[in-house]
């Protein structure tokens, strides 16, 4: 017999009111504003935008505040919001060669055109807690130096000059870029769809997979050809006008990972590449993405698939933290009926087992769960 049980409405309403109270916290402290979150917790905002797959700093900051700083909850909220909006169209592909550079480094060429620009990096800091941030001490203005006007050549173009690196990824002719927000995923995927999934994938998951490739689970011999962070224009074709107009700039992080490749029957020895492109400033994610992108191209290069990072279905099916958290966290919802059924089953099996082995029945704790 199935008995539907209702209840909990009052408890749920009160729990949400309590949540609102705890979120606000100590009322003697000023509430944190959205502008403050955007300005001072910018990298948290960027991570939410990247993994929610929605570029909007204000909304991402609102989500961070609403989620009390729980990143995956914030990503979930922003993802849910995007489903309420109509889609106006697709942008013209952003041109990262024309990026307004805020940071650009290469681990393969010391003296590359445009130079090594460190930008606002945590690198070379000592990772010591800074007590001056306990108070609101004045912060010095950054120094300035005359800027080089010439555009920053991509490192991949330098190697391409010698013919020692594979080209940018070309899809078959007439290929329409896949969109996982519109079509359910069907494995195997094309690289364009994998990149879309990786760009919104969980930073921690991709970082761990990338790390696994370095530790020997699918070795890729990587070098950071280039990491660049900066602003690119988003342009949209306006059908009424017949030309594309700029909607404004977005900040992105791009990583070109260069990997040694011995060659195969199909391809000559050359460098191959993994690619990472992420909303906002997120170097770790872009680097991890490029390592995993390269690992997932194993089949293309005739490499043996021996490690988790090379297994497309495993990686892409588990990289989305909203899906992952939904399935893991649903376990805490009431499973009373399922569990009753299992309990009955285990009792019956145990009784049979005991009968077979001549063990006497002991039912002192029995019925506690009922």
């Amino acid at each position: 017999m199935y008995v539907a049980v209702k209840g909990g409405e009052a408890a749920i309403a009160n729990a949400h009111q309590l949540l609102a109270d705890r979120r606000r916290g100590d009322r003697s402290l000023p509430a944190i504003s959205i502008d403050q979150i955007v300005a001072q917790l910018g990298l948290a905002v960027d991570r939410v935008m990247a993994e929610a797959s929605l570029y909007d700093r204000e909304l991402a900051a609102l989500a961070v505040r609403q989620a009390r700083g729980d990143m995956i909850e914030a990503i979930f909220i922003l993802r849910a919001y995007r489903t309420t909006l109509p889609r106006f169209g697709m942008s013209v592909p952003v041109d990262t060669a024309k990026m307004k550079i805020e940071r650009r480094i290469s681990a393969t060429y010391k003296d590359l055109p445009g130079g090594q620009l460190l930008g606002p990096t945590f690198d070379y800091t000592h990772r010591l807690l800074d007590p001056s941030l306990l108070t609101d001490e004045p912060v010095a203005e950054p120094l300035r130096r005359r800027a080089d006007e010439s555009s920053m050549m991509r490192v991949s173009d330098i190697l391409a000059g010698e013919g020692l690196i594979e080209g940018d990824g070309q899809m078959p002719e007439d290929h329409v870029p896949g969109d996982l927000t519109r079509e359910p995923l069907e494995f195997p995927l094309n690289r364009d769809l994998r990149l879309q999934a990786l760009a919104r994938g969980d930073e921690g998951f991709l970082l761990a997979l990338a790390y696994s490739t370095q530790r020997g689970y699918a070795r890729t011999h990587p070098f950071v050809g280039e990491v660049r962070i900066g602003e690119v224009e988003v342009e949209l074709d306006i059908p009424e006008l017949g030309f594309a107009v700029s909607l404004g700039p977005i900040q992105v992080t791009e990583c070109q990972m260069v990997n040694q490749f011995q060659g195969s029957t199909k391809n000559p020895p050359q460098f191959t590449r993994g690619y990472g492109l992420v909303f906002g400033q997120s170097e770790r994610k872009a680097m991890a993405m490029s390592l995993v992108d390269r690992a997932l191209r194993a089949e293309e290069f005739g490499e043996d698939i021996v490690a988790p990072a090379q297994d497309e279905e495993f990686v892409i099916s588990h990289s989305d933290n909203v899906q992952a958290t939904g399935f893991v966290e649903h376990l805490k919802l009431p499973h009373y009926v399922d569990f009753q059924a299992e309990l009955d089953l285990v009792r019956r099996m145990r009784a049979e087992h005991d009968a077979r082995n001549g063990i006497e029945k002991n039912d002192t704790i029995r019925d506690a769960a009922e």
């Binding site: 204000e58 909006l85 460190l118």
Partner: protein, 155 residues
């Protein structure tokens, strides 16, 4: 024929530039620009203002074929002046009022009597952005690594 084509080309470039700059104008800049328009024209909404999404595309490997990177919020509006000109405004973010004003200025810059006021606004936005970009570029340039080589003596 070529002259007409060239003129149309210049008009397209001018409008494209103006729309790109209107998309980057602040709410305060657009409001101030609107205050400066006298007499205020009659404006009819055609579409929106509304907020939706644009799928931002990147290129595989940076320069290869397109892939879908992720979406961005975009607000847009289309307006018509009583004199018939249609204006479009579209910009990143949620600010529908900004999109509406951008659309009005796009329509107004097609009217000779408002041309100068719109140009004034657009030029002001452009110089602000240029100054900000220069400042950022110079701050970044100060973090450029100047390598030096320790030469070992050969005596």
């Amino acid at each position: 024929m070529d002259a007409i084509k060239q003129n149309t080309g210049m008009a397209v470039n001018g409008r494209k530039r103006a729309m790109g700059l209107l998309a980057r104008a602040s709410a305060a800049e657009l409001q101030a620009g609107w205050q400066a328009i006298e007499p205020k024209p009659e404006v009819h909404p055609v579409r929106g203002p509304e907020t939706g999404l644009v799928m931002v595309r990147g290129r595989v490997g940076g320069g290869g074929d397109p892939f879908n990177l992720g979406e961005a919020t975009v607000s847009r509006a289309t307006v018509r002046l009583a004199s018939g000109e249609i204006g479009h405004g579209q910009l990143l973010g949620n600010d529908r009022e900004k999109a509406r004003l951008a659309a009005i200025f796009d329509a107004l810059q097609q009217r000779p009597e408002h041309r100068a006021a719109v140009d004034h606004l657009i030029d002001a936005v452009e110089s602000r952005i240029e100054a900000e970009d220069r400042k950022h570029a110079e701050q970044t340039a100060a973090t450029r690594v100047d390598f030096f080589t320790m030469v070992r003596g050969d005596n």
